[in-house]
């Protein structure tokens, strides 16, 4: 019987041609995919830096609190800034409660039957409705049928319906993350369904719910199409630095709309103004998102179960 061939230790781990080829292939693929990932990240960074460089001459505290002057070719963005705050606050004041309650229904009450499936389909379809169709709906339903006219109210309600499905989805995810055992423990000591939700489910999921709602703040602030025909207006005379310039039935200016206006509709705008408006809008949106992400990371780290 032949003894097994003795392989010197140094040769025992030599890479065969096949292994070498596989390693090369792997490295090449990794490089290509890394390049793709970098190409995805690059736009964000280059866009932000380019915007800031272009906007620099106009960016100042003055720009934020001043009103537009000389047919919007100079001055600041105060009315638009306040208008956006109005729209966001009112729309979320409407959509957040409805969305959270709807998610509670879907996650805590609904049985698995055709009706629940219909609701799920409706949520998905609602999330996919194009923003301009929301605008048409807002115009037909709120401005004309409900006789709100072109107003902050009509625009906010339109935005509310646009943000609703996403709030439902994110809240539902947060509720579903609470372990069933928590609920069972609570039911077993005799609590009713609602008592369980209030005392156990909501406190344990409030962070996730808040994150979802905060993300919709930035979405509502950035959307233009839904408010274009329901309540946003090119120009509205407002006192400089006035905190409450609008009534609910007024039309208002909004940052997103203002960016569209000064970059396409108004001739001879001072070069830096559209850029500065874009920076303020983008900065606000990204800051809100970053806050939501930070909140999520922080809460995930101190989660106890």
């Amino acid at each position: 019987m032949n003894p097994p061939p003795v392989i010197p230790v140094s040769a025992r781990f030599t890479r065969t041609p096949l292994v070498v080829r596989k390693e090369r292939q792997q490295a090449a693929v990794r490089l290509v995919l890394l390049a793709m990932a970098v190409l995805m990240v690059l736009p964000l960074l280059s866009i932000i830096s380019h915007l800031i460089v272009q906007a620099w001459p106009a960016l100042s505290w003055e720009f934020l609190v001043d009103v537009p002057r000389r047919g919007m070719t100079e001055g600041g963005i105060w009315p638009a800034l306040v208008g956006t705050v109005y729209l966001v606050v009112i729309s979320l004041a409407v959509s957040a409660p409805i969305g959270v309650l709807a998610a509670i229904y879907l996650n805590e009450y609904a049985r698995d039957n055709w009706f629940t499936r219909a609701i799920n389909l409706a949520v998905i379809s609602l999330a996919g409705v194009p923003s301009i169709v929301h605008a048409l709906f807002g115009l037909g339903a709120f401005v004309y049928a409900a006789r709100f006219g072109y107003s902050i109210l009509a625009a906010s309600l339109t935005l509310a319906i646009m943000t609703l499905p996403v709030i439902i989805a994110s809240t539902r995810e947060a509720l579903a993350a609470v372990p069933t055992a928590f609920r069972e423990a609570c039911w077993n000591v005799g609590a009713t369904r609602w008592q369980t939700i209030r005392a156990i489910v909501l406190p344990n999921s409030i962070s996730g719910i808040l994150t979802g709602v905060i993300l919709q703040v930035s979405r509502a602030a950035g959307e233009t199409a839904p408010i274009l025909f329901t309540g946003a207006v090119f120009f509205k005379a407002v006192q400089r630095g006035d905190l409450f310039p609008y009534r609910l039935t007024d039309q208002c200016m909004a940052l997103s709309m203002h960016l569209y206006t000064v970059s396409t509709q108004v001739p001879n705008v001072r070069e830096a103004i559209p850029w500065a408006t874009a920076v303020v809008l983008l900065g606000a949106v990204l800051a809100v998102n970053a806050a939501a992400i930070a909140l999520r990371v922080w809460l995930r780290n101190r989660k106890r179960w």
Binding site: H50, Y109, S125, V133
Partner: protein, 312 residues
């Protein structure tokens, strides 16, 4: 607890909740049920109200549905011969969407694969946050970037007479849909059972072989759904294409032609169409068309995701 205790010792009294607490709870649950139905109510309301505004034109003799769908002549304000053909607009939407997907799908799927297989947890978290931020950029800012930065780049490098065209809109829409494709695609890859991955690795497959032979085939439904959701977003996007594709109502012959999409057309003309006029009604009808298209795309995506989940 039994209402009466037979074993001698007096049972503690059964706690009784005040009438107010009981009715309050009932009221809240009623609210919850009502809100639960809100999504159905709103989706039907959207359909009802846009259809209500559009309906009269369907019965007008000056309007024909065939012309609306298949004619390229869009002259809504012509005095002598008004024509409402949306084919050129649909072609514009199609051209921009297709180009956007051609650009976004390789990057989106590649990005999802990279995130799930080729990078460490730290890099993954960072990239995911950046992608989330990329998804948060408002469409009007994208439109502004298309109008200013991208159009200048396109004019410089391609020699096109105008920078706002299909190429511009396609690139902008690709940048907007990549985040969706990456995040949903990554979920789809994550949903592939670990045993598949382990089996492939145990057989000596490289990461690349694992991705190409195991992960992509196993996750193909989820990836398709991710792409469809990207398509849905691209079709429905308004402000970015309004600002970045130019305003020529024509069937594009190349990617350097300007076009106008269905969505941009509504946004551009609704302000000038007097309420209740025929033009206004036709714009609402375009909205109905868009609603139906995006709904079909999104439902298809959902069915695919659900089907993939049911098979597991």
């Amino acid at each position: 607890m039994a209402p009466t205790s037979s074993t001698g010792a007096a049972a503690p009294p059964r706690p009784i909740r005040s009438r107010r607490a009981v009715w309050g709870e009932r009221g809240i649950e009623l609210l919850i049920y009502a809100s639960g139905m809100s999504a159905i109510v709103f989706i039907l309301a959207i359909l009802f109200f846009i259809f209500r505004e559009a309906a009269p034109v369907l019965f007008s003799d000056r309007f024909s549905l065939t012309q609306f769908l298949f004619s390229t002549e869009w002259y809504p304000t012509s005095v002598s011969n008004v024509r409402y053909g949306t084919l050129a607009l649909s072609a514009g939407t199609l051209a921009v969407t297709v180009l956007a997907m051609v650009l976004a799908v390789p990057f989106g799927v590649g990005g999802a694969v990279f995130l799930s297989q080729f990078c460490g947890p730290r890099l993954r978290e960072t990239l995911k946050i950046i992608i989330e931020l990329l998804a948060a950029i408002p469409s009007v800012v994208w439109g502004f970037i298309g109008l200013t930065v991208m159009s200048r780049l396109i004019v410089t490098y391609t020699g096109a007479p105008v920078g706002v065209n299909v190429l511009n809109g396609g690139i902008i829409l690709a940048l907007m849909s990549v985040p969706i494709i990456v995040s949903i695609g990554e979920d789809a890859l994550k949903a592939v059972p670990d045993s598949y991955v382990e089996a492939a690795l145990a057989l000596g497959a490289t990461r690349w072989q694992l991705v190409f032979r195991v992960l992509l085939p196993a996750a193909r439904h989820g990836l398709l759904a991710a792409v469809l959701l990207g398509v849905g977003r691209a079709i429905g996007e308004t402000m970015a294409v309004l600002m970045a594709t130019g305003h020529a109502v024509q069937i594009p012959h190349g990617i350097l032609d300007s076009v106008r999409t269905l969505t941009a057309n509504i946004a551009a003309e609704l302000g000038e169409a007097p309420a209740g006029s025929e033009h206004y009604q036709v714009l609402f009808l375009t909205g109905v068309l868009l609603f139906i298209i995006t709904m079909l795309v999104n439902l298809a995506a959902d069915l695919i995701i659900r089907g993939a989940r049911a098979r597991k």
